[in-house]
């Protein structure tokens, strides 16, 4: 048992107990009352006579009860609690996990983990703040809510009301869990820390480390960057697990929809279901378009159980595809797994399908293969111009290229790149990012980035390039295709230009005779055309940045979040950047173009991260370097003062009964 405010209780006892003794020893000042005779009173009151100011203390049951009652009240004022617990001194940082998995509803009383974490944190702070006037100084508390992006909810403070308000204001997000940024943030607010080597070299600095804040982590333990976490010298972190390690989850791990190339009015949808449980699960699946049910499984879908254990565990998966349905206009496709389980966030996925759209392509230069290919694309209209005319035109009107969705250049000598989306073949543009330094000959293919949208479903191993430009792009450019002597296809940005550069002409290779030439060109045009949104929108993960192009001169640009909030945006160089996005759902980018036409673009955000969707709370946290106290942090300390006060009240009732049953003289 620990006493929170021992001095308060002792002082109170030292005052009231002697006072009680004095009151019992002092002769009671009574009102004189003349009566006919004391004949009938004598035997009753003989023992109450006192002839002096101070009378001898008579130990009556009432006195003993009152004595006991005062002692109990004094003990209650000492703030006793039952637990091996001590109030931390100095500073305490609460790290409260607000990531997606903290929305799992497996805490007591059907609370979410985040609600439980907030409740525990508030209870802990209230416990530290308890004790009344004579309590020792409570620690200064800082609250940091963290998911992918940490935020300080309240800097170091002892104001209980403000701390409680700050904790209650922490809202759930659907982001991943990254603790390291949160710890960096906490360190920035704390005493400067030193590395072990510095501490060894400087004892004073090492002493300062002793004032490092006590760190209190309230999380389910599903922390993505736990392996990269390093605690510095003197730092100690205590973890309170919120959530059940046995909670399993089924969810949608992937979802997508595409307009068909042969008939863009038809949209095909597919999804993958995941099961983390050891047993197979049956769930119903529904697909809705703008709220209208368009597809539903005739019977519950069986999702196979997970296999393996520990790190080798693999979730069960079930892939589903739906028959194409007609959708000419834009829409929101929502896929739902029913009924919802404890973690509902991944039971729903949304896909924003853009309006059927035709890309406007400018082909500068002559290349029969490219011309033939671009003209064959059903979603594009092609305007052709010679390279010389093109150079002249952009010299006089730098914004002309921006009026096209994609500009395809073949062997143009570009001195700079104007704003727009560029697919460039042959001669490299004179931009510093590419660092062109000559030519290469006879190259085979070494590697390609198959997970890039432009390189999907393509095989480049048979490609041979006879002549190409030699480039050494800067590190912020992405090499999509690596030849034996250098990069052959790269992607990157130069000012307001988005560029995919192919360092050779198709006719200088055997590429036109390969399927990958068709796939790459079509996908590159589609990708650049609307940054991937020409046909469907890509699904982003929570925490990602929303970056989209807005026509120059547009007004009333805003973003509507899934919760309905509308946030005004100011485009910069024809582009807005918003984020990181906190929650799943559809984000609507709305604007009015220079012609007064309202434009809406929808971006879907879905949680498909496997680590975050595995909602079973961690059994333990393994921090590679540092001291982790994986304990329940004393939040269950039992306050005894209510029991003592209750007992004192019972004593009061007994005393009252005795007083009236046996009279004041008993």
């Amino acid at each position: 048992m620990t006493l929170l405010t021992p001095f308060f209780g002792v002082i109170t006892a030292l005052i009231v107990v002697p006072l009680l003794l004095l009151l019992y020893m002092l002769k009671l000042r009574r009102e004189r009352r003349d009566i006919s005779s004391t004949l009938l009173w004598i035997s009753r009151t003989q023992d109450l006579r006192a002839n002096s100011l101070l009378q001898r203390l008579r130990l009556s049951p009432l006195f003993l009860l009152q004595f006991l009652l005062l002692l109990m009240l004094a003990a209650a004022l000492m703030g006793p609690i039952l637990k091996e617990w001590s109030r931390p001194s100095g500073r305490v940082v609460f790290f409260i996990d607000q990531s997606a998995s903290m929305q799992t509803r497996d805490a007591p009383d059907a609370r979410t983990r985040l609600e439980e974490a907030k409740r525990l944190a508030i209870a802990q702070v209230e416990l530290w703040q308890g004790g009344g006037l004579f309590a020792a100084s409570p620690p200064e508390v800082m609250v940091i809510a963290f998911a992918q992006e940490p935020s300080v909810r309240i800097p170091y403070s002892t104001n209980l009301a403000r701390i409680r308000e700050a904790i209650n204001a922490i809202e759930a997000t659907d982001q991943l869990t990254l603790l390291a940024p949160a710890m960096s943030l906490a360190r920035a607010f704390s005493v400067a820390q030193s590395s072990p080597q510095e501490a060894e070299a400087s004892p004073q600095m090492n002493q300062a480390n002793n004032f490092a804040p006590t760190m209190q982590l309230l999380s389910d333990g599903n922390i993505s960057d736990i392996a990269e976490l390093v605690l510095r010298n003197g730092e100690v972190i205590s973890w309170t697990r919120c959530g059940d390690p046995n909670t399993s989850n089924q969810g949608i791990s992937a979802a997508g929809a595409e307009r068909r190339n042969d008939d863009p009015s038809l949209v095909g949808a597919f999804m993958t279901l995941r099961n983390d449980a050891q047993t197979a699960a049956k769930r119903e699946v529904q697909v809705r378009n703008n709220g209208t049910l368009i597809a539903s499984a005739s019977e519950p879908i069986t999702i196979p159980p997970a296999t393996g254990k520990g790190d080798t565990r693999v979730s069960g998966a079930q892939k589903l595809s739906f028959a194409p349905f007609t959708l000419v206009n834009s829409g929101v496709l929502s896929m739902n797994l029913l009924p919802e389980d404890a973690f509902a966030t991944d039971d729903h996925a949304v896909i924003a399908i853009q309006e059927q759209q035709t890309l406007r392509i400018l082909l500068a230069g002559n290349d029969p293969a490219l011309e033939s290919l671009l003209n064959s694309l059903s979603f594009a209209t092609v305007q052709q111009i010679s390279s010389n005319d093109f150079i002249k035109r952009i010299s006089s009107d730098a914004t002309w290229t921006e009026s096209f969705d994609v500009v395809v250049c073949v062997d143009c000598e570009l001195q700079s790149l104007t704003a727009g989306r560029w697919l460039i073949f042959g001669k490299p543009p004179a931009i510093s990012n590419l660092n062109a330094y000559g030519q290469q000959t006879r190259q085979a293919i070494r590697a390609w980035k198959s997970d890039h949208k432009t390189m999907a479903q393509s095989q480049f191993s048979d490609l041979v390039v006879d002549r190409s430009a030699a480039i050494a792009p800067t590190s912020d450019w992405l090499a999509l295709l690596e030849g034996s002597k250098g990069p052959l296809i790269v992607s990157g940005r130069d000012n307001n230009a988005t560029v995919i550069y192919v360092a050779f002409l198709p006719l200088d290779s055997n590429w036109p005779f390969q399927r990958s030439f068709v796939n790459f060109t079509a996908q590159a045009v589609e990708f650049l055309g609307a940054l991937g949104s020409a046909v469907t929108s890509e699904s982003l993960e929570p925490g990602a940045m929303l970056r989209t192009r807005i026509a120059r001169g547009s007004s009333n640009v805003s973003i509507q979040t899934p919760s309905g909030d509308r946030i005004a945006q100011t485009p910069t160089d024809g582009e807005i950047v918003f984020g990181p996005m906190r929650n799943v759902g559809v984000y609507k980018v709305e604007s009015v173009d220079p012609l007064g036409k309202k434009k809406t673009r929808m971006v879907a955000v879905n949680l498909t991260n496997l680590a975050e969707c595995n909602v079973a709370a961690a059994n333990q946290l393994n921090i590679p370097a540092g001291d982790l106290q994986s304990t329940v942090i004393g939040l269950t300390a039992l306050s005894i003062w209510p029991l003592l006060v209750s007992a004192a009240l019972c004593l009061l009732i007994v005393e009252w009964f005795l007083y009236h049953r046996y009279g004041g003289s008993s």
């Binding site: 009566i35 006919s36 005779s37 009938l40 009173w41 009236h660």
Partner: protein, 304 residues
Amino acid sequence: MSSHTKLTKLEDLLQPSLVAALDRLDLMSQKMLQGRMQGERRSRRRGQGMDFADFRPYAAGDDLRFVDWNIYGRLDRLFLKMFLEEEDLGLVVAIDASASMDTGDPNKFDVARRIAMALGYVGLVNQHRVTLAVLQEGRADRLSSLRGRRRAADAASWLISQKAFGTSGFDSACRALASARLGRGMVIVIGDYLLREGYESGLRCLASRGWDVFALQILSPEEMDPRKNNQNLDVRLVDLENKSEVEITLNSTVVREHQRRLETFNTTLRETCLRLGVRQMTIDSAVDYQKFLVETLRKQGLLK
């Protein structure tokens, strides 16, 4: 607690409204008493009264004035006419004038004097010999042998002049009263009877003289319920006679205990009086004493 009122004149003791009611009343003794003088009270003795009672044959020595000559003329035999003799009644009203009577609200001594005045008045208007006495410090000071309505003012003056103080010395005072040559009659002893030395000996002494004794006990409302008219429950009780003190807290248990003891005390008083052939009654000093005199005492057989 004393709430002694100023009694200064006859009207204070005997209100005019009560006088008319008292004029119609007379004392009624349960004993056949022989008065000293012929009075207005019809006794059981055959004598020289106005009401015919019976005849009896003449015997030598009888007063020839009572011979019924009409019967002698018809029967030629001498018969005497016998009448119910009318004689006076001795009435002694004694008041306990100890300090203990000077308590209560209404004051017990005031109530006692008013009752004594009323009873005395009844005696005076019915031509009885009325003696008023106060029992104090073992003595019995008295105003003796009053007769007739015109002596009511004297009786009132004497009662008004009396003060309650000291002890009663009940036993000695009763003996002193009994030894006085007051003839036979009724003795009404008014007091609270809360006597440390006891009351039995005094009452026995009076009863043994052949008097028709009536013991009237007056208790104040505070004596019956100690918490009445008292906000402060922590009190120091002071005995007005012997100045002894008792400190006590008047909680319900203590009051209940006190009332139980008082009930026992009163029961003992009743039983003692019954044993001695003394009529007894206990009243509250807050009683409506006019109603008490006109109705209650008639029901008790003290007045008629």
